[in-house]
């Protein structure tokens, strides 16, 4: 078995525009996902929007602290799940059940240190 991080990307503007109805629908989707894959779930969180993000970049010895997300993209990281799966195919099939209506998902294996 191996651990995979499922990163959830979405368009924050579309989320805002969706209002309470979209929020409720998404929550329902995540609840259903959590129930269906309880066996595989090892963790997960939703993130506050990128307006709350702070980036730290290094220039030589200096750490520059700036407002905003690390990469400005239309679809921003909005949350993640940590799941256990026997291989990539199983991780992808779990990921397909994550609600991500205005964006998509990235599936990455977690590095193992022996």
């Amino acid at each position: 078995m191996a651990e995979y991080l499922i990163l959830i990307y979405g368009d924050e503007k579309a989320h805002e525009a969706g209002g309470q109805a979209l929020w409720d629908e998404l929550m329902q989707g995540h609840n259903a996902f959590g129930e269906k894959h309880a066996q595989s779930l090892r963790g997960g969180n939703a993130l506050q929007p990128t307006t709350t993000a702070t980036s730290v970049r290094f220039q030589g010895d200096r750490a520059n602290v700036t407002d905003g997300p690390f990469a400005e993209t239309k679809e921003a990281l909005g949350g993640y799940y940590l799941v256990e799966a026997k291989d990539l195919d199983e991780a992808i099939s779990i990921a397909k059940d994550v609600p991500a209506p205005h964006g998509g998902l990235e599936v990455r294996p977690v590095m193992v240190f022996d």
Binding site: D87, L88, D89
Partner: protein
């Protein structure tokens, strides 16, 4: 002593059986690199052993047994187990190495596992094609590099990256479950089709056809047909390759000039390939709705079985393009459909069909679209407009053979005016 007959037998076995030997050995090693080493070693041993023992009745079984014995020897040395690369993920219950070494007659055919792993959607398309050529077709890294027109170190790095992703992301060495199989086979067919089209009309270079790539794609399509005899899309792709390749001897003249379907000597088309392809098309078309390869092959079959250009059933071809445009809508299919309409119902109707595609951005930079327009205008006697369209087409292609053809058409127009 390595006599020529034995060397030829080993080369032939390499061409036919490499994938079988490697796939069965990967099953045991669960490590692609180690399995490759062992399979190569088995072919080297064949060169040494066959002059004395004679060529075995079933070379694949002989080679697989030797490769797996070698793998087992290496696996028993602990150092190999301590490789940093993670092992390939097999089925839920992985058999122990001893279980895998079964009687020679019972070696399972694992080639579909190998192909599905090489063409896994988590790999980039260029990595899929490179891995397929290297692992399934058994080409050397240098040969794969030549096929892609890149340097050998570049290709070696690309193959290493792809294998590392298979290991690190745990892409399984498995035939996908039935529910996922059609989608995964689609990806495999796309890779084989890409190899064929790249070989059939080389996008770069002086020659129109890259024979090596065409032959590899044909080998792969035949292998898939053997592994998935009931799959209509596999039948369709094999038919398409056979029916298109049947015209290879007539596509350019003695001076390397491009010859249109209209100008080709049909008596020189490959009758055996056409017969085999036509039988497969009929089978592939039985599935409803027919797949895109089956429809493309059916169009090629109409041409292949027509005694001359003048006898071509253009209504049938236009009707097949109608269905293809629904199953596999693309600007190029729409363009071919317009050309077929023009040949079925006259250049005026063809021009109307082309005008309907005028807003298609993908066709704006496509030489074939301008050339088709030029051809209908020429047939309508609108010489000046035809000239403009041929000149436009010339600006859009870099293939030397195609450019020469367009130049020739322009000269013919000039003669007509005089």
């Amino acid at each position: 002593m390595v006599d020529a007959a034995v060397a030829a037998a080993v080369a032939d076995a390499h061409r036919r059986e490499w994938a079988f030997v490697l796939a069965a050995t990967v099953r045991l090693t669960r490590d692609l690199d180690l399995a490759e080493e062992c399979a190569q070693d088995a072919f080297a041993q064949a060169l040494a052993a066959w002059p004395q023992s004679g060529v075995p009745v079933r070379p694949a079984a002989w080679l697989t047994t030797v490769a797996r014995r070698r793998a087992l020897d290496l696996l028993r040395r602990e150092t190999v187990w301590r490789r940093s690369l993670p092992l390939l993920i097999d089925d839920d219950v992985t058999p122990s190495p001893e279980d895998v070494v079964v009687a020679e007659g019972e070696i399972p055919d694992d080639r579909l596992r190998l192909i599905c792993t090489c063409c896994h959607p988590a790999l980039a398309r260029e990595a899929q094609v490179a891995l397929t050529l290297r692992l399934v077709c058994g080409l050397t890294t240098a040969e794969v590099a030549r096929a892609f027109l890149v340097t050998e170190p570049t290709m070696a790095a690309r193959l290493t990256r792809a294998k590392k992703k298979i290991g690190d992301a745990r892409i399984p060495y498995r035939v996908p479950p039935a529910a996922d199989l059609p989608e995964r086979i689609d990806a495999v067919l796309d890779v084989v089709h890409l190899l064929f089209t790249t070989g059939h009309t080389a996008p770069v270079g002086a020659d129109l056809v890259r024979r090596d790539l065409v032959e590899r794609s044909l080998d792969l399509a035949r292998m898939l047909r053997l592994l998935l005899p009931a799959d209509a899309d596999v039948a369709g792709l094999l038919a398409l390759i056979l029916l298109t390749d049947a015209r290879r001897a007539t596509r350019v003249d003695a001076d390397g000039r491009l010859l249109l379907l209209e100008e080709q000597d049909r008596t020189k088309w490959d009758g055996a390939e056409i017969a085999e392809g036509a039988t497969l098309v009929r089978e592939a078309l039985r599935r409803r709705p027919p797949g895109r390869f089956a429809l493309q092959a059916a169009i090629a079959a109409v041409h292949a079985e027509s005694p001359s250009w003048g006898d071509t059933d253009w209504r049938e071809i236009a009707a097949l393009y109608d269905v293809l445009a629904q199953v596999w809508p693309s600007p190029v299919v729409a363009l071919n459909r317009a050309v077929a309409i023009g040949l079925a119902a006259g250049p005026g109707a063809g021009l109307d069909a082309l005008d309907a595609l005028a807003d298609e951005p993908q066709l704006a930079g496509y030489a074939y679209a301008a050339a088709a327009r030029a051809d209908f205008l020429r047939r309508l006697g609108r010489t000046e407009e035809a000239r403009t369209s041929y000149e436009e087409a010339l600006l859009l292609t870099d293939n030397a053979v195609e450019r020469e053809f367009l130049d020739r058409r322009l000269k013919q127009l000039a003669e007509r005016v005089e």
